[in-house]
């Protein structure tokens, strides 16, 4: 199984939360972006999605949304 990471640039506020929390997964330039769109399952991706102040991050497992957690 692989997970997919998405950052919605229209709501990203460049708060730097994800890139500071998980620099292996997210990089911040003007806006945040996944380093790689597909990753091995990694809890920290869900933490980043939960904590994004703008709720701009979505984590999908084989296309099904699993983060941010409800």
């Amino acid at each position: 199984m692989t997970w997919q990471l998405r950052v919605d640039k229209s709501v990203c506020g460049a708060t730097g939360m994800c890139a500071a929390l998980a620099p292996e997964l997210f990089v911040l330039d003007d806006w945040a972006e996944p380093v790689k769109p597909e990753i091995e399952p990694d809890e920290i991706a869900l933490d980043a999605a939960d904590q994004c102040p703008m709720q701009a991050i979505t984590v999908l497992a084989d296309g099904k949304e699993i983060g941010p957690r409800p």
Binding site: G13, A14, T15, G16, M17, A19, A20, L21, P23, L28, D30, I44, D47, D50, Q51, P53, M54, Q55
Partner: protein, 390 residues
Amino acid sequence: MTVAYPFNETGSLALHESYYDALRTPGMLRIQMPHGEPAWLATRYADARLVLGDRRFSRAMAAANDEPRLQAGRLEGGILSMDPPDHTRLRTLVAKAFTVRRVEELRPRARDIAVGLVKDMIAAGAPVDLVDRFALPLPVAVICELLGVPVEDRPKFRVWSDNVLSTSRLTAEEYMDNRTELRDYIRGLITDHRVNKQDDLMTALIEAHDEGDRLSELELVDLCAGILVAGHETTASQIPNFILTLLDHPEAMDKLKSDPSLIPGAVEELLRFVPLGAGAGFARYATEDVRVGDVLVHAGEPVIVAIGAANRDAVRFTAPDKLQIDQPPEQHLGFGHGVHHCLGAALARMELQEALQVLLSEMPNLHLAGDIVWKTEMLVRGPVTMPIGW
């Protein structure tokens, strides 16, 4: 050369000239705060973002060092003293209560509170104190309802909150006593909540402790205390600060009155423009040698980030000393940056938007009606009292 810090004077909202000098001078300044070891001072936007957003800088390391600080006492413990993964574990528990979506659900309630407070001010008749009658009670009512704290206890926790954020009023011992009193008060509320479960954040956090074992009892207490203190003092300061800034910029004020749809953008610009902090704090310690601009920060050295200065960096912002409410800035640092980006940012935005909206529409001729008394010994700047008429 090491210079004494902080620079900002308390009787205004101006950014001190020393920050402009620092922004024009290569490298970073060496500063000495009233207490603790010397530190580097980052004033540039790019440097600020690096130090706040890079995992090679640690907040937790401050506890093992003589952290540069304004107070004699030390604000130990709490989420702002943590690094990932401990920080992540706590923040995940509370982040959901402060998402944009959850905060939007609170907006109608915040607007009702604001409208009620304005009605009361009008009924009392001018002059009234904007701070005591509006700027404080609005965010206090909202955070009390969200967290599950009785709003009628405001006089009690107001004193503790002021003391936590006070820079020189208390000795180190008094500072610790104050923290103990605040913790005991929160412990009492937690005991009540265990018996009478409520639909509030405190109940959710208690369940995370009691059932999920995801935070310790002390973490639970300090998290609730931190949310209560941080949840109102800054917003309560920024409401009068924003009104004062708009009174200084009558064109901007007129634009907002004639087109309230500009208010959300204006709030972002005001968050950039108003240097809220009396001085920067919460040092970040380098865990290894890190190059910050022209300076090699050695492992173990602290860096203080002057957000108010970074928000006026001409390299990042066009005409940074001009208030441009119809050209809101992207990516200001008013809420900080990185893992410690303000937990309550969405809540603060919403409250500030509603406060401006209600004040400008219900009191179109709002003006000063007496002398402002300024906070002099607090981490944040703003009026203690601000008499207004309308």
